[in-house]
């Protein structure tokens, strides 16, 4: 009996039990499509993060305050202490001490409400220096950034993020308009271009940037502390040198060893790595769940094939009496199981690919479909059919024709 003949007879057997075959295949369909989608989601997220590092540039160091210890002994997370000061930023900017730093921008962050007439919008107010656009790789879509003189004076000027500008002014051009913050009128002098979400997930497009002295005046803060110091290395090659210089300088200034540092330094690459690690963990976790559903699907195929063998004992006996060798019977049932697996794989891939197009509209997350994952899914589905078909097929092949014919 030829292979083609066997495949045709397998298809006929599957068609003869349409509903049962469809339900069997369903397990594999769900397994394969969820594997494709979870792997796609993981890869989509990873690609997004990688795109961001490309956009931001990879020679950025981000210095954050270390953890704080309250009087009751509770330790906060990194960033909870106020150990970084403007003096620290100024010291890093000294090209003799940190020769590999090209630009330094300290930044304070606070939450304020911006008011334009009857419209108000709460956003984060960033107080910083003129180096900020450079170290953050940000550009302006309209107007200009504040000048050193304005920074010096604490001039009442503000540069808005694109989302903030849209919320306050809609389609109108904000440049030259006024916004009020805590009763102080600021003139909008520029609007930033969009940068998309950051690696940490918060939007970099909704913010208001002012000179640092303006910021302290607006928020009434008198403290000399900053929440972040951005340091741009002169090139990617000297990033680790710059890292060590900044680390040594700050440890020295704060009178601590680097092991017990009250600050932390992250590179853009390390942030991306962290984000990717999280993504990977989720992908593995979800992929594992999807893999289990595949396994369950495979067991479903075996179950149905065993039922099919039991149900068709007489048919098997007859075929053997008419001259089918055990090998031929085994092949027939194996092919049937493989066809079930393969059908499930093909339908699962189709659903996965369609899902990858539809899903991003609902969850704001890109889904990447890789050819490799698709092929692997199809091969897995086929292997499931074959693997879980072996036992039922062997049982069918072992039936003796007399017993099989006699059973009722």
């Amino acid at each position: 009996m030829s292979w083609w003949e066997t495949v045709r007879s397998g298809l006929a057997a599957i068609r003869a039990h349409r509903l049962r075959s469809a339900l069997t295949v369903l397990g594999i369909v769900i397994g394969i499509s969820s594997v494709i989608l979870t792997v796609g989601l993981g890869q989509g997220a990873q690609r997004e993060v990688e795109d961001q590092i490309d956009a931001l540039g990879s020679n950025l160091l981000i210095v954050s305050p270390g953890s704080s210890t309250s009087s009751s002994g509770m330790r906060g997370g990194f960033g909870s202490a106020s150990t970084l000061t403007f003096a620290d930023a100024t010291a890093i900017a000294d090209s003799d001490v940190v020769p590999d730093a090209a630009a330094v921008a300290p930044a304070t962050t606070s939450s304020v409400a911006l008011v334009n007439g009857t419209t108000n919008w709460t956003t984060s107010l960033v107080g910083t220096s003129t180096a900020w656009p450079r170290v953050r790789s940000r550009e302006l879509s309209a107007g200009r950034f504040f000048t050193a003189a304005e920074a010096e004076q604490g001039a009442p000027v503000v540069v808005l993020g694109p989302d903030t500008a849209w919320e306050l002014f809609g389609r109108r051009s904000p440049v030259g308009q006024q916004v009020t913050v805590n009763g102080t009128r600021l003139t909008v002098i520029g609007v930033l271009t969009s940068s998309g979400a950051s690696a940490s997930g918060s939007s970099e497009d909704d913010l208001a940037v002012v000179p640092v002295s303006t910021s302290s005046r607006l928020t009434g803060s008198t403290a000399d502390t900053v929440s972040t110091i951005y340091v741009e290395a002169t090139s990617e090659d000297v990033l680790s040198a710059a890292y060590q210089e900044v680390q040594a300088l700050l440890a020295n200034r704060h009178g601590v060893t680097t092991a017990e540092a009250d600050f932390s330094i992250a590179t853009q690459a390390s942030l991306v790595e962290t984000a990717n690690e999280t993504n990977r963990t989720f992908t593995v976790l979800l992929g594992g769940v999807a893999g289990i559903s595949l396994l369950v699907g495979g067991i479903g195929v075996m179950n149905i094939m065993l039922v099919s063998v039991t149900e068709r004992v007489r048919e098997i006996g007859l075929r053997k009496a008419l001259g089918a060798a055990p090998r031929v019977i085994r092949r027939q049932f194996l092919v049937e199981a493989s066809l079930l697996g393969l059908t499930g794989g093909v339908v699962g891939v189709l659903i996965g690919v369609v899902g990858a197009q539809v899903l991003p509209r609902f969850i704001d997350q890109a889904v990447a479909i890789s050819a490799l994952a698709t092929i692997a899914a199809l091969v897995t589905a086929l292997a499931l059919g074959v693997g879980f078909g072996v036992y039922p097929a062997t049982r069918a092949a072992r039936l003796t024709p007399i017993d099989a014919l006699r059973s009722e």
Partner: protein
Amino acid sequence: MSALIALDGVRKTYRSGSVGFEALRGIDMTVQTGEYVAVIGPSGSGKSTLMNILGCLDVPTEGHYVLAGDDTSQLDEAALAAIRNRRIGFVFQQFHLLASMPAWRNVELPLIYAGVPRAERRERAEAALARVGLADRLANRPGELSGGQQQRVAVARALVTEPDLLLADEPTGNLDSASSRDVLALFDELHDAGRTIVLITHEPDVASRAGRNLVIDDGLITSDRAASTLSGVGAR
């Protein structure tokens, strides 16, 4: 002339745990090509076991069975399957047709396993169905045919490979008397055309149609004679 079938000291013992049951206790028999032989015996006599061995569905525990020159006693399942396919056509009491297939597909089944190409299979299946008088029922499924017609499809399936031996196990057991006559008449025709037929039955009427009757009882052949004698005794 060499015999088509030659059994020499055939014994068959079924084991169930430590208990053995001897279904055949030493059968010697020969059947020449072209003979029409009925094997008769009450249930439990061993005639089904004999039929299984004649049909290469089972092998003897002891002794030899030579079919058309091949000793089948030592063959494995695959080789037996090939012999069944080439040399033997089966007709069963329960017809054993596949309900999901039309008549001609049922008839072509043995040809699939013989590796006959598709077009030729259909042609030969149609010819075999025409031979048993069912040329107009090719596409009917078994469920759409009467019992007699179903058994004739089964006969067509048995004939389609042009086997050396037609082996029928209680072929009229599930048929009404009109259909039985029908099928037996077909067997007579096939015999007249030179086919070798071994028919297993417990009905003397059916056995009387054969040229020769073998009576089997308790695993042994107790009588081997021309059919007319027995039917004379049984009928009147």
